[in-house]
């Protein structure tokens, strides 16, 4: 059965041939984020009343820092993929859509890089 309209057929619009990687990466990061976010939320909750020294030591311990860096990478990649889908669904103007996707990717990358550097600095006790 063919679900494509005659106009769609004629214009040759259809698969961009790169959707699977996007879909798969969204799921892989989602699975990684399940334990990471639950762990991080409870860790921060437990630390919420602690003083600077305790929090810095706890967040900056090697395993903790490694898990937070993993969390940041997975979360920002997941966010970029998700925002792209939202833009693609609601922004019909191609130029605006491309600018929105690229702009979001750049901002999320910068934020992720800042987060990773902050965690490294906490870990090495700078």
């Amino acid at each position: 059965m063919n679900f494509r309209s005659p106009l769609g057929e004629a214009k040759g619009l259809g698969s961009a041939h790169d959707g699977l990687h996007h879909w798969w990466a969204q799921r892989v990061t989602a699975i990684a984020l399940i334990p990471l976010t639950i762990w991080f939320a409870f860790k921060v909750a437990i630390l919420s009343m602690s003083d600077y020294q305790t929090v810095a030591e706890c967040i900056g311990s090697p395993w903790s820092a490694a898990l937070i860096v993993s969390l940041i990478v997975a979360a920002f990649y997941h966010a970029a993929l998700g925002m792209q889908v939202i833009y693609e669904d609601y922004i019909s103007k191609k130029a605006v859509r491309i600018v929105a996707v690229m702009g979001t990717n750049l901002v999320l990358f910068l934020l992720g890089a800042a987060g990773v550097i902050a965690v490294i600095r906490i870990a090495v006790g700078g």
């Binding site: 939320a41 600077y52 998700g82 934020l111 902050a118 600095r121």
Partner: protein
């Protein structure tokens, strides 16, 4: 080209969204909100990396009533997105599409989100008094 006999989707203005549809919309909403919310996470980590003074300022802000309300919305958004995300993964593997299953899993998603949010906040308030 005959396209006028295609089925129409329910008109959103006159159609009361079922809870299942509402949660579906919420998944996108919380996803976008959490993307913006990453700024708060990075800001907190930078404050901690900046030393005792900047950390204390951040903690004070987060400990204020507005800060706590934002964090409450943040955590609930996170857990509803997480719970519904797990449901999406189950759907991806081909299970749970029957109407009664979807209705049931909608309530499970909301329940799990409430329980996780309440647990995190219980943890936060059990480990000390005042920021």
């Amino acid at each position: 080209m005959s396209t006028n006999n295609r089925p129409l989707s329910p008109h959103l203005d006159v159609y009361r969204l079922p809870l299942t549809a509402f949660v579906s919309v919420i998944h996108r909403g919380t996803g976008a909100a959490l993307s913006v919310g990453t700024v708060a996470l990075v800001w907190w980590l930078i404050a901690l990396a900046g030393g005792e003074e900047s950390f204390n300022t951040a903690q004070q802000l987060l400990g204020s009533i507005i800060g706590q309300l934002v964090l409450l919305g943040w955590t609930f958004s996170l857990f509803i997105h997480l719970a519904n995300g797990i449901r999406h993964l189950i759907w991806d593997s081909g299970y749970g599409f029957e109407k009664d299953q979807v209705t049931k899993s909608t309530f499970i998603v909301i329940g799990v989100a409430f329980v996780l949010t309440a647990s995190v906040w219980a943890c936060a308030y059990a480990f000390g008094t005042g920021v």
